[in-house]
Symmetry: C3
Subunit: 269 residues, 3 copies
């Protein structure tokens, strides 16, 4: 039974998500449909991209991810379908799919052009219903993505900053890739990479700085520090995050997307 | 695989919706269940009726819509099942199903009377679980709606105002059918009807008035006007709506359900 | 088609619930997954236990309930699977499953120890994904719960107070088992038990006292009393509840979990 996983910023107060399911089942009646989440903050592409990246690997081979966070709907932004080694991804070409597909062996990317796989009337505001849901359903049904339109190169896709920090022997330079709704500043430094880098060190001590603020250790939870204090921790995506217990780190430290955090090994004296 | 689409005002904090799914699967184990939405404002029948009307046509033939916005639960209001050409609708006879079924070829309406298709103990407060979920499941399983009780005439059903405006050659009279939670005033003037009426005009200019306020053009989104300003637009249901950018149109203009909006063609001079 | 019903305190803003579904379908592709609710207040075990108890009996034989309200995740609290006459329950051994399983003929309880049925890497924070979802999926697939680890006795499980009041001929002593998010104080006095006890009385009058406050009758809904007034009613779980119309009964009367409510028959004079 084919699985289609939905990720949107539509919320669940309206019928948008329900309607997408109706459209899917009209085309592929035996699809299992999973809601990843529909509570991505409206138009927050990086939040959606993170969620998709954090979730996809837990799903069975053949799962079709239909992702719609689409501030450019109705403009000339491309609509795409991506086949990777294990999964399919369908959505707007605005970076939303990027982190998920850049972790995968991409087999093919096509632009969605063939309107015979869309609903008959394409609105200018709801491509989730009119394009992405039906295309996802046809993929789940076994239609080759070649059918949907011309192949395009991965190089042509809209990208987000890499989800990996830059590692030197003595320093790591991480980038803030997302500020979440609580003001937590999420970087592209992954736990695994950081631990590997530390293992190579003579001494396992380090200090990290961002916006003039220094850290010398990691916490495991927000509550480990006093209210209003800053901390560093690896979040549920295993990405390094700058946070404030019951506070807003981005505001407090003046952190913006794209800012750098530098980690430096301490010298053994 | 039969599809049952649920629409309620139960929210998802409680187990009510989950319990309805259990009841359905006990009777019809292979039903696919879709949540249209459970966030209809408590007891807001017209909001539920609009959502059901906006959604039903996207679902496959044979879908059973189980709709429960039921302020009269436990009173003498009828419980009904409706078979239309393509779908089934189950719910209270309080107008909730009206707009959906009035757009359809109704084949038969029955009153739910045969308690052998209900749960053994009928509560006075939760007919969603005790009556509507099991009846929907039996329909999904193939039970004829004749089994559930006596046929009643469409004329006997509780109705809402028509979901179509009145068209004259020079004027349209639309009615406010719903004030939503944001204070947007939704009318029964449909985009298609309005565009057809305009096409017949020598001149495509018009002005609309409601409560002494005049409009001479449509907007495509709330944000096209300044904060606090009124606008007219066709909403996601393609119904004409009076709105205020980041404000409450019903309060600002004193609009109530049943109020009229008049559109008049401009004379060519 | 096997059914897995999920109950968590994860909310639906994050991808946690979606990821659990992916994990389940990877193991048991044809599982039907129902969301009981994911809006249990964070770490509120008794709220979760009540919801599970209120819902389970409506689900088909063989349903696997995967329940995760787990403040002790990462500590030494046990993880368990329980087979009862009609259902399976999987979750932490912290009382969450207790009310549901104590109403059932328990066939067997095992501690989840056999990591070959878990995900390869067990996090310290997300056993819903790493342990409870995969074990639930293996049960749905037909794996015997004997496979997961050693049998343990029901006596060894973490328990909650009994979900039954104590009945004497003239008095009932009920216990407040939960304060909900609205401040309603929910007791372990069940409607059925109370009605049976009253039937035995010469006179059907009674009075109830808690924290110095007396009641002599039941209401059917909050709105039957004036705003700010206290009332007694049987709630949607058919448990006696002390409430305040549009107010917080626990705060107003100073009620805490464990407090007693006493009901006494009135003497016939």
């Amino acid at each position: 039974m084919p699985i289609i996983a939905l990720l949107t910023d539509f919320g669940v107060q309206d019928i948008y998500v329900g309607v997408m399911k109706g459209v899917i089942w009209k085309i592929c009646p035996d699809a299992q449909i999973a809601d990843l989440t529909h509570e991505i903050l409206p138009q927050d592409i990086t939040a959606g991209a993170l969620a998709l990246w954090g979730a996809f690997s837990f799903f069975p081979q053949g799962t079709v991810f239909c992702a719609v966070v689409d501030p450019g709907v109705g403009t000339k932004r491309r609509a795409i379908a991506v086949q990777t080694r294990y999964h399919f991804f369908v959505g707007p070409d605005n970076g939303l799919l990027w982190w998920a597909i850049s972790e995968n062996d991409v087999i093919k990317v096509v632009e969605l052009k063939n309107s015979s796989y869309f609903l008959p009337n394409i609105s200018s505001t709801f491509h989730g219903r009119d394009i992405f849901a039906p295309v996802s359903a046809y993929i789940a049904k076994g239609t080759s993505i070649d059918e949907f339109g011309p192949e395009i190169s991965v190089d042509e896709l809209v990208k987000l900053p890499p989800l990996r920090a830059s590692f030197g022997s003595q320093t790591v330079v991480a980038q803030v890739i997302h500020i979440d709704r609580f003001g937590n500043a999420i970087t592209n430094l992954r736990r695994k990479d950081f631990e590997a880098w530390l293992r190579d060190a003579v001494c396992h001590q380090w200090f990290a700085t961002i916006k003039g603020k220094s850290f010398e250790s990691l916490n495991r939870s927000y509550a480990e520090v006093s209210e209003g204090e800053t901390l560093l921790l690896f979040n549920s995506y295993d990405l390094l995050e700058i946070a404030v217990n019951r506070g807003n780190a981005a505001q407090l430290l003046g952190i913006h997307k794209g800012d750098q955090l530098e980690v430096r090994k301490k010298e053994v004296k």
